[in-house]
Amino acid sequence: MQLAQLLLFLILFPLITAVFMFFAKKDMERAWIVKLSALVIGIVSVYLLISTYDKGALLVSAIPSEPVTLIMFIIEMLIAVFILYLGIVHKKYIVVALILVQSVMMLYFELVYAHSVEVSSNLFIDEFSNIMALIIGIIGSLICVYSLGYMKFFHEHHPEMPDKRTTFFFVMFVFIAAMFGLVFSNNILWVYFFWEVTTLCSFLLIGYTKTEEATNNAFNALWMNLLGGVAFAGAIIYLAMFGNGVMGLDTLLASGKVIALIPAALIGFAGLTKAAQLPFSSWLVGAMVAPTPVSALLHSSTMVKAGVYILVRLAPIFQATFTGYVLAMIGALTFLIASGIAVSQSNAKRVLAYSTIANLGLVVACAGIGTYEAIWAAILLIVFHAISKSLLFLSVGTVEHRIKSREIDDMNGLIVRMPKIAAMMVIGIAGMFLAPFGMLISKWAAIKAFIDVPYGFVFVIILAFGSAITLFFWAKWMGKIITVTSDSKNIEGEVDHSEWTALTSLAGLSLITTLVFPLLSTKLLEPFLMANYGHVAQLSQDNIIIMILMLLLLVIMPLSILIPQRKHKHVSPYMGGRTTTTDMRFSGSLGVQKKTVLSNYYLHEYFGEAKLRPAGIWLCSALICIMFAATALRGVIL
């Protein structure tokens, strides 16, 4: 198959599946279509990698720009009318205002400049896009498969909610299509179009349950992302006015900092909103009201990854500029503050949300620094985060359906009650913060990247504190799960088949990627870095061997359970000498029986959301103002 057809297939095939979702009303039909499409999307994205392997960046000029761009513009306007209508109905005037501004800007562009803009290659593929396509194609479709079981269960247990699963799956697949479009587009107008589609999709999915809270949070997400969209539109108009006809990512990167820095800062701002960086973190936390697969999708393979994708793409422009440093500082502070807030959260999904924001902050910091080492770390972070985070979200979703709670304290003794899911969660959590798993390799790479740049020590210090905090909240959660409670029964029961497929695949992926990451690095990352920066970053051979040794040790250790050993004498935990029953009830003063309840430390006094969030919002807002002021000033001087 030709490259152009392959790329178009990946964009259009999920769209076709999406349309089919409207007609598949029965569970069986839907399940088959989703599973088959997921399989096809996964296989084709792997095939894309194989067919473009070792060929570097390939531009695709076969698709005519004129009609497609016009169709996109029309769809954009239709979306704008739709959002305008919803905004007025729900009295969300900030949304109305933003969509009006944005539409007027794009209308102005279309009428005045569109005919003079010519992009020769609209689509492209390189190693980085390939990695993103694999994340979207494999993790995104696994999440869709998981949703089959989850949404069925969800509607069985929430009869009060209208069953709109047809729309749900429609939007999920449109989302995947838009993400493919985003990472394959070279034409910035196309990137913008897909960008807006992801905004709309996330809005629809967050508001899925139609409760008041869901609707409010959906609009909250919408206005923040529309604000980013306005900045993006601003970048397009700036390029049309001063860019000498530059409208492709390749030409933008090649055009030099004088032309590129201002539009890059504007698009970078859009990236910050989409990647939920402070001060825009609240939309991602609010998005937790949606069904869990939606969170998994938003956090791992789509949406927020679109934000960091564009930032990493533009990183060469940010490198060694004041704008880049400020951007990196926003990311680094977001990492520190969001990690801190995560300590104080007792709701599992909120912990995951803040941890996502934090890790994206680290990616943003790397992108702002923009050296080859930093970009190496950034892409590794994107990959490993996508895998571990989707695994964790999906596990939490399954657990939530069994124990009817998202509270971490209610997950006490999960290893006894649901051993299989608990094992998945332990793999996911270990993947987030322990050596030798992916996220830790990436953080390690980030430390090395930061220390080698001017003023990099500031970022290293922030990273050191941030990762110590990260360790605290992950380890206490892991501890809850592996606590062995003597009185609990196994309530795992039959986990839905589709849920199980997704969970085991993701757990397998997180182990395998840790093992084959040297391959990932040499075969995909190094050529990409070589092409864009002329340098490669890598781990030394020794270190790779040691990491693999550690991983093997970790994998072998649990197998020791299989070795038959003599039974040890069992005693009950020390309870200060009080008489205690087997289910840990003890007689308190006045002879009242009390149950032992163990709760994690949340340290609200120091890490409370109410305290840290406003601080983060002010700091990062100020930094964004500084970033724009400095960039504009530079633009004026040059």
Binding site: N412, G413, L434, A435, P436, L440, W444, I447, K448, I451, D452, P454, Y455, G456, F457, V458, V460, I461, A464, F465, S467, A468, I469, L471, F472, A475, K476, M478, G479, K480, I482, T483, V484, T485, S486, S540, D542, N543, I546, M547, M550, L553, M557, P558, S560, I561, H568, K569, H570, V571, S572, P573, Y574, M575, G576, M584, T596, L598, N600, Y601
Partner: protein, 287 residues
């Protein structure tokens, strides 16, 4: 380059050295308190006795975590002495430490549970300073490799005086000495219920004790890195630092965890900013 011989030497010799250090520690402590104190070999007798006892457990997973703890602690130390990458050594140390915490969580006992949470607080308190120490050494010697740092002719201590102080401060936490023996203490002068190790007894407690010996030797090796330019000064400094830790241990009462976290973070932030900034502006940072 990895030097496997030194790694093996560490695995074999460290428990002997660590046990002896523990014995001397107890003797000096006793003298400071006006007691005669036990034989220097007492720690070995104690551990020997632990291994003769019957293993009682709250549940079987506990022993598993204790074994993981000692394996990864040995791994950490061996990697350090075989001159691996200093950051990787620190990450391996964290992994080992997490197994101790998990073992305490697994018991589902109130005392060990509180111990586990406190142990995590301790890790959170010292971790930034330890990472920044490695970073400081990289800035000073242009390498993360332990043998490069140890063999350097640069007087690292003179370049990193602030970071050295910060490291010594958190070393007290790491060695489980007062005033920072928050999660469990080594001597009986703080508590009867032993925090994170409450539910360990017999052989598995013996394992944890041996792990601690390994850890002590590894940490003292870390201190030595500051003085690698002159082995004689290096060894002397290590001895002085350890004696200082014993003195601090015996002249301070345990503080609350809030003070521990706040003070060690404040110190870590101040010394690393000042020291790294000074290096950067004086010597132009890393070339």
């Amino acid at each position: 380059m990895i030097n496997i011989v030194w790694g093996i030497v560490f695995v074999l010799v460290a428990p002997l050295v660590g046990g002896l250090i523990a014995g001397i520690d107890r003797k000096i402590t006793a003298r400071m308190q006006g007691r005669v104190g036990p034989s220097i070999l007492q720690p070995f007798y104690d551990v020997g006795k632990l291994f003769e006892k019957e293993q009682t457990v709250v549940n079987e997973t506990q022993t598993f975590y204790a074994i993981c703890y000692i394996i990864f602690m040995i791994f950490t130390g061996a990697l350090f002495f075989a001159s691996g990458d200093l950051l990787l050594v620190i990450f391996a140390l964290t992994l080992a430490q997490i197994f101790l915490v998990l073992g305490a969580f697994a018991a589902n006992s109130p005392y060990s549970y509180v111990g586990a949470e406190r142990e995590l607080l301790q890790i959170m308190a010292y971790e930034p300073m330890v990472i920044l120490t490695a970073v400081g050494m990289y800035v000073a010697t242009k390498s993360f490799n332990v043998s490069d740092i140890a063999a350097t002719t640069t007087p690292v201590i003179l370049l990193l005086p602030g970071i050295f102080l910060g490291f010594i401060y958190v070393l007290t936490i790491k060695l489980r000495k007062s005033p920072f023996d928050i999660s469990t203490s080594h001597h009986a002068h703080q508590e009867i219920v032993k925090g994170v190790t409450t539910e360990y007894s017999g052989p598995s407690l013996g394992l944890i004790e041996i792990t601690h010996w390994y850890e002590t030797v590894f940490l003292l090796g870390f201190v030595y890195l500051f003085f690698g330019f002159n082995p004689l000064i290096g060894v002397a400094a290590v001895i002085v630092i350890y004696l200082l830790e014993i003195l601090v241990d015996n002249t301070n009462a345990r503080v609350k965890w809030q003070f521990m976290v706040k003070s060690s973070w404040l110190i870590a932030a101040v010394v690393s900013v000042v020291n790294l900034a000074a290096l950067y502006f004086l010597f132009g940072g890393v070339s």
